[in-house]
Symmetry: C2
Subunit: 205 residues, 2 copies
């Protein structure tokens, strides 16, 4: 399995190329792109060549071309349909986060157990009762399940997603989800961001 | 400046060591730790030696000792006090996220402009009107500001934090914040997590 940190670097290269494209740039050398991303250029060339040759030595990379190449590697050149489990604070922040649909990640439905939330619509997404997952998926197929329930409900909700042939899970609840090998689970831990901030703050003095 | 990806790796090593400690492990070799984190062991040794020698060659690392060493490097062996700007969906999810105080990141106050939210208390944190920031900081000093406002208010709120001598900002709003060099700004982009999930899902077939 390709390590998570390699994929993180690919996503970082893509973000940096998007920013350069917005600034009107066309070409970039591997040295400059590596510097912008904070990696060494040998690592960058190794990452890019791992997935097939790209760019002409000496001339540098075409920014739109390289971005397209990396998006194809990441699988973000297409749309992914998702269901949200738990439409509480974090869930609603995700439903409102306009960057997700812009990047091709679209919620087709949300699920909860709280009677007060069921039947509401947020950003065109309807909140169903969690018991309705299987028949909703028949109407609106999805490949990704996002878990934003309390930790106590996370495993039960994950089992339900897996039973309904969902193959990818993004888990925000602070528990490790047990799952079969043919299901991909990514865990979100926002505290890594806070650690990064602490690291730089400590060095400010 | 030390690249963000290096700090990300240090935080990853710390998370992995915490997990191993929970599983009752004491010792680990650099090869095994590197494998668990998905980096090569030369990179791991380089990262650790950059911040001072640690561990005995051949014997491996003491897990509690190495964790303490990395926490000192990251600056997470101490408490950090924070203020939240924008107590909406994402803001309230952060106020309720019990992992933050567990890791020493504590909110002392929250701020908003919505009359319906002002005066409420969430997880022992009082929501003030944003105009009260300076006198609240005199009562409850803080070093970190977390921005969870709409993008339209993010720069104005960042300026207010900087005026009030806040040196570290974690920005969740999808805009680039302008700031002086002596203030650290980290931006959160959850979509990188979704990219990682797409990458692994694409390869499942
Ligand atoms: N990983 C991170 O970075 C991060 C950050 C903040 C919060 N969190 C976590 O995200 C989760 C949600 O946090 P929140 O603040 O939105 O909590 P919340 O209580 O506001 O929302 C949880 C929602 O889940 C619903 N729910 C409960 N059981 C359910 C079930 N079986 N099926 C479907 N829905 C169910 C509840 O009715 C509620 O609406 C928590 O586990 C929290 O620890 C993670
Ligand atoms: N980076 C990420 O990964 C991520 C994920 C989800 C949402 N977001 C972003 O987080 C932000 C908040 O999202 P949300 O769903 O919680 O929105 P929300 O509308 O529920 O919350 C925003 C809050 O900010 C308050 N506010 C407005 N102007 C303010 C000001 N000048 N000072 C203080 N408070 C002010 C509002 O009254 C409201 O309570 C948005 O910018 C959204 O794009 C980021």
């Amino acid at each position: 399995k390709i390590p998570g940190i390699t994929v993180y670097r690919l996503a970082l290269y893509a973000r940096t190329l998007e920013k350069l494209l917005e600034e009107g740039r066309d070409l970039i050398s591997s040295e400059e792109l590596a510097r912008e991303c904070g990696v060494n250029s040998a690592q960058l060339r190794k990452d890019l060549s791992y997935f097939g040759q790209f760019g002409v030595r000496g001339v540098g990379y075409s920014i739109p071309g390289l971005l397209k190449h990396i998006r194809r590697i990441l699988g973000t050149e297409r749309e992914w349909f998702m269901v949200l489990m738990g439409a509480g604070h974090l869930g609603q922040a995700l439903l409102n986060y306009e960057f997700l649909p812009k990047r091709g990640f679209k919620f087709v439905a949300a699920f909860d157990v709280d009677e007060e939330k069921i039947g509401r619509v947020i950003n065109d997404v309807y909140i169903y009762h969690v018991n309705q997952l299987s028949w909703v998926l028949r109407e609106h197929p999805a490949e990704i399940g996002v878990i934003a329930t309390p930790a106590s409900a996370a495993q039960e909700v994950a089992d339900l997603l897996i039973e309904n042939k969902i193959k990818g899970i993004l888990n925000f609840a602070p528990v490790r989800i047990k799952h079969p090998p043919n299901v991909v689970v990514e865990n979100s831990d926002l505290t890594i961001l806070f650690d990064k901030l602490a690291f730089y703050l400590k060095r400010l003095d």
